[in-house]
Symmetry: D2
């Protein structure tokens, strides 16, 4: 039946809609429909199943030839290259501060943005109609898309990828069915990974489906809590199976829209129970990856419980979960919470919690998550200073939780965006290394605190200087000398490394 | 064919998907699919075509009995009522400051939020599955939905409604087809309106469809400009036909994401040309409604050209459009642009531009448009003070550009939300009238400026006091006396009217 | 010598400047000079030592008659009163929910705002020239001012006051001298307190003096750390001596301007050492008051270490200080950190840390601390709901960390502002009590979570439900039912109590 | 007398306070006192009149030797220089895009920040105690300070300076006296300027003095309006006399704190009258400089009437002032109003209003004006792109409305900060020139709009395409093609020029 509809559609060169029988039941295959936040569904869109690609179209995971036919393996050509499809700063094998660039970066492609991003926004429908998409959410399409992912990883030269369960395989009509779909796609991914590629992390998508509208682990409904547990269990199994190095919790719905209808304390207790069970399950299955919490202040909820790094750290400490989790810091989330990205990285680091970075950036004038590819070399340098101080991020890395702008609709834009992001961070690493090697900025900071390197300073730092002793010293010393903080000099030193 | 699929679906109690043959071609009928901003389409959702409502389901505009069967006509019961489905403050026929409450308010229901709102957000799919929805975007469904709208208007006691062209009728595969669908639905609306009900305003939806991704009147593509012109032409025709009292332009995509790829000046010139053509067309067809521009600072674009009231006023003046347009001030847009709602209303008013109010409110801690129903009596009182000063809003009114929270999923919630919004504004009117009648706050303001009621003050206000004269006076008078501004007293007077 | 200058000044009716010999050395007495952030010092200002008050002027703590001569003791007159100098909602002895209003509120006057506030801002000089001020910062003036404070407390009917060490007594040229000045003024305060009045809390001012420009406990200079310790030691002594019920730490300079020159980890370690010493000293001197940390996100620093309640809680947990401190939540600080005041109160409460409230409010469109008196009854009701849930605030209370607007310059404005703030919170208490007594909102919340009151719910809450068990249940139960969150109903119930 | 006090002070090495007889009356000389927003005046501070500088101290404008003795004339040494006191990017005489760098930049030093900035902030007192300051606000000190200014201009290599009337000379006890002081200082400035140096602009300080607390031109008091007129008259005279090339209006107090006590319309009318009088006076005295309005959204007021460029443009158009004024765009004000600096520059430019740039930057996480020296090369490049498009800024330029951080207290920090700012903008010019010369980004933008270069495009742009014609075309053309906006490519092209 679906074929008939598809051919009708394809003949009409428009309204390309397909249905297919899958596992004995009707599965909707939709490309053209979307349901923008508050607006009408519209039925028409550009053609997605073009007549001249007939052989590649339809209910099949097969795809003839390359997904990105005109695009070569991306190479390093140095800063003077004018080639949009080449690296100017990222040279994977080059050694910087004693480590290969690729080992500092551990770049990862985010499957959801790169392969499931549609360009839709709260006021608009999808704008991306990639050639390999047939307009369906079938398992066959999921597998074809997975093949595209691996071709992309190969061409862009990245060894890690990240995914949500529901990104890579469709949700079925029952949990059992969803799990079966997932297994089928994951088996293919395992095969395509080969020996070189692995997930940087996996996660469960617990926010799109309406059942999660009040939260997953913090839903007011017991049944939802259980469902979420089952979904995370499966996602952990799958991540483990694929050799994933981390597992992420982003609690998009774990928060509230208004305190008027919310028992925040009870919800937080539930969240803690959920995380304890996750830790127990991780140990049970022998999964060695790091568990990561990804703070975000808000959106979609008015208040998300993992507001920022300090809030997440307080939660972990309060509920006895410290040591079991690290944090996945996202730059755009940092700025939405009123912090610089660098601040959040440093807060995570000094709490012993810096596990991974979601490498993106927001718009400084915008109050929502734009998930843009990082292009600012100044910010990238700050980020890399934290990473260097952390001794790298492994087993974490840099996941490109970043998406093409809605209006960027060429296939090559996917490559340009990733190259831009990788080059920016690579340039940040080079600048940070220059700063480290030059030493002047480090020395400026060291000198600021050197009065605490004295005997009394050590006594204070050891917690042995009581107020009576300190008062005696203060009276003895008189007015303290207070030198300049040299902020402008520090900025000059920083900028001159760029 | 669609019936078969529907019955399969209905038998499966899930994945309720329908296709139907419409005008000789396949039209997709979708309820369950959506494509959340960056995430996967999921194919499954709650049942939408329940077995026990068979007679009411399917490809038909018919609907047996009431749409809101348990809900009575909403009545005024006064402030002590505990009835959720009654007005406590809004008493339509009651006279306040010489005018009936309903004439002050001129409430309007926003078709898009109330009847096309799905509960979807950038991280989540639809959550509203109203009984009368069959999961399709067909003309038949559009007509059934229109009947629901008129039953709602009747029960809630509101005489105006607002719509986008694409809210009330589906987009076809060609403009001609879209226009035909629109005509069919509009004919029904005209009939249902009877003699009492009218659109407060109509508008064209120029932001959902991907063709508008770079703007409509400000698109970089000429073809899109023309398409938008055609769509506005039709929407003006239709608004005129229905007796609409205003026509609105909200330029959701008229702005930019980055200046790097944008010729802002050229885009603004195009926007002005577009508006000049709209004015000419309005006159040509004898449409007497007010043209309204609705300022918004951003979202979905990073920068929207109609940023705020002052920006829109500058645009109108620059391009010789003053006198042809007024403004539709939305409270949530006001606060997103860094202003209080009251500020924007006053700015519009003193520029002679206050035409209509989109009555909603945002969350003060949130950086995007939440379009909540106004519930704050303080803000409502400020709003009503401006309205009173403006001598009312007619031919404009209060349009509830407000939506149920995503998590509010009961049919009765639609009523509760509107009752809450209407009561809040009605209470605001009562408080504002108390302030006006009491006079103490007005007197405080008048007295502050009374030194300008002197002869020299009049000279200054007439533009006849030059710097030489003023310097002479300043030297003569010596240090001026500067009295207290009494802000806390003003606040006390204001609060005590609530 | 100072007398001569003063008389010259007073004869000139302007430039009222005084110097006086104090303790054998020159102490500057300044009223008219200020040094606005980036602008010029101006030497001239209104007369502060008027000729007709000669007997009350000069280097003396004496003051003939009342400080607030035309103003009576403020009485409760009920909501219909038009008297600006009467309470309409605050009735101290009235019992609400089983407790007297005054015991719920425990109001406190902030000495710094009310008696040291000058109206200066970053772009402007002082605007307040209270009759009792003689333009000096002498000990004599400090004592006269203290008498004004106690007359104010008596007339406004408040039993608590809060102070910084340097508000109530001048800083000398040495720490020893400063301590002596403080002792002299504190002795008077003790006497004036009598048996009824006490400090709600005291604190040390560690942010105005340039020595603290890099922080106090987190200064890069050891000598400053010691000086701060000595100052806090003395401030705790003094607070204890006066019977203060709490002691507050607001770390205005404990943060950074840029991370480029900052060792955040070392600074935080120092802060923890400092707090440990404070706890030890408190115990040593037998001070029974609660130690309170007052979170603020920023201003004057770009980032303040006690960013918000969760950040402060994390700090306390990390450094083993939990149990020794509670939090002083300030509403204006809450909103600057991106939270509602209610959120911060609830976060503090469920972490067992809600100790005190700095009762003020900010401007929702403004990005700095405006410290306005709370006038919003909606927000006040939310605040009181948290206080009721917390069983009250004792030994904490409501401190009016709020100031007159710069432009409010009448003596009566001080009263109007406090009456407005007290009435707003009193009205909030009445509304909150209505909500509690009505019960409908509480019931709505309780019902939302009742699925967790089941056996399996209890198992989850006890941490006994592992993922395997939960998956089994999820598979067994199928798709969970997810009811409406009823936000609009909750808002309607809330609003109708106002 | 003052000498005696000074020597007392100097002997005490602290509390350095001076009084001096000036023009037969007591003038307060204050360095150490300040009155921080809400906190206590403190009387003690670091020594300002050091014993070893005796000859240079006291009531005299004389200053032996250099003000900046260890600091040479700043030279260009190129990007590899490690010398903090050298330019790495700014090479004044080098020709870029056909113009010398110095002619593109037209840098100016802001007298108020650089010579009157004290480091005070709303929570802290002054931290800068420059050697040449004697702690007074005397005319003698004003003249000594002016000499320091010109030595600084010479050493830093800048030919323009900007000032407020009250920055450069003290306010007297009457307007007449203030004018006389001003004349005395201005005469010296004229002499020191020689033939090479001029004010980029002058302005009147109408915000510090308490008389302006309700505004200057928008004060509710007529006497204040007249006083402000007299002050502006004099400031224009003085600017004209010094050969100033522009005159600026920054309305720091022209706005409101609350609309409750404000008649916004009447205040705006007064502002317009004031500006009309300013234009008339400018013509009367033959002053040829440009009048500039400097938009700012808020701070110190909640709402400032010149909110942003579009708001100011609307005001100018509404009141018939267009053509008489241009705008002075400040980057930090731009971001406070929710816009990028680049946006405000472009808005001013396309309204024909780009007159001058206040070159500074804010902190993206901070909600108040930080007036930092610009150090971001990305932002600087954006700024320079607008300047190039504007054909330069003359007779305007780049005024460093930027200040040292409060904690930067070395004399050399003044140089480091200016060098950093100049180098950043110079680097921005070099990068912008690279972009212009490369042409790829320009071409990308041109191509986006090329469909409007067609005949129909021209017809639209000429305002000759009506809706009927456009609808016909839209029906004829069918669905328009909409190409990618290539944002990521534009970002890549932009970044690679840095």
């Amino acid at each position: 039946m679906s074929l008939m509809i598809c051919s009708t559609k394809c003949l009409n060169d428009f309204d390309c809609l397909m249905n297919t029988m899958k596992g004995g039941r009707v599965v909707l295959l939709v490309l053209l429909c979307w349901n923008v936040a508050n607006f009408a569904v519209i039925a028409a869109g550009p053609q997605t199943c073009p007549a001249n690609l007939e052989g590649q179209c339809g209910d099949s995971e097969e795809w003839k030839g390359e997904f990105f036919p005109g695009i070569p393996k991306i190479k390093y050509e140095g800063p003077n290259s004018k080639n949009h499809l080449a690296f100017k700063w990222y040279n994977a094998e080059e050694v910087i501060l004693g480590k290969k660039m690729k080992d500092w970066m551990r770049f990862s492609v985010a499957f959801w943005h790169t392969f499931r991003g549609t360009g839709g926004d709260p006021f608009g429908g999808p704008t991306k109609f990639w050639p390999w998409e047939d307009g369906t959410n079938s398992v066959a399409m999921a597998k074809r898309r997975m093949r595209a992912n691996f071709e992309f990883l190969d061409k862009i030269g990245v060894d890690y990828w990240c995914f949500h369960d529901r990104d890579i395989a469709p949700e079925g009509s029952t949990l059992k069915e969803s799990n079966a779909y997932l297994d089928e796609v994951v088996a293919l991914a395992k095969e395509l990974q080969g020996s070189k590629i692995k997930p940087l992390w996996g996660t469960a998508q617990l926010f799109v489906q309406p059942r999660y509208m009040h939260g997953a682990a913090t839903s007011s409904e017991l049944g939802v809590y259980a469902y979420a547990a089952a979904q995370v269990k499966k996602a952990m199994d799958v991540t483990n199976y694929l050799g994933g190095e981390n597992y992420v919790f982003w609690g998009g719905r774990e928060g509230y829209q208004t305190l008027l209808n919310t028992d925040m304390e009870r919800e937080l207790n539930h969240l803690a129970s959920f995380f304890h069970s996750a830790v127990a399950y991780k140990k049970k299955i022998g999964f060695n990856g790091t568990l990561l919490i990804e703070p975000k202040p808000q959106e979609p909820t008015k208040h998300q419980y993992d507001w920022d790094a300090a809030t997440a750290a307080n939660f972990l400490r309060k509920y006895g979960l410290l040591g079991e989790f690290k944090l996945n810091i996202e730059c755009n989330h940092a700025t939405l919470s009123g912090h610089s990205c660098h601040h959040e990285l440093e807060t995570a680091r000094i709490n012993g919690l810096l596990g991974n970075i979601d490498a993106n950036t927001g718009d400084p004038q915008v109050g929502w998550d734009t998930d843009q590819f990082l292009t600012d070399i100044s910010e990238a340098t700050m980020v890399m200073l934290s990473v260097i101080r952390n001794g790298g991020l492994a087993p974490g890395g840099f996941n490109f939780d970043a998406k093409l702008r809605r209006e960027s609709t060429d296939v090559e834009d996917i490559f340009i965006a990733h190259i831009g992001g990788m080059d920016t961070l690579a340039r940040g690493l080079r600048s940070a290394a220059k700063l480290v090697e030059d030493g002047a900025l480090t020395e400026l900071v060291r000198k600021r605190y050197e009065s605490f390197d004295s005997d009394i300073g050590k006594k204070i730092e050891a917690g042995e200087a009581d107020f009576v002793f300190l008062e005696k010293k203060a009276l003895e010393w008189g007015e303290p000398k207070v030198p300049s903080a040299k902020q402008e000099l520090a900025e000059m030193l920083f900028q001159s490394a760029l």
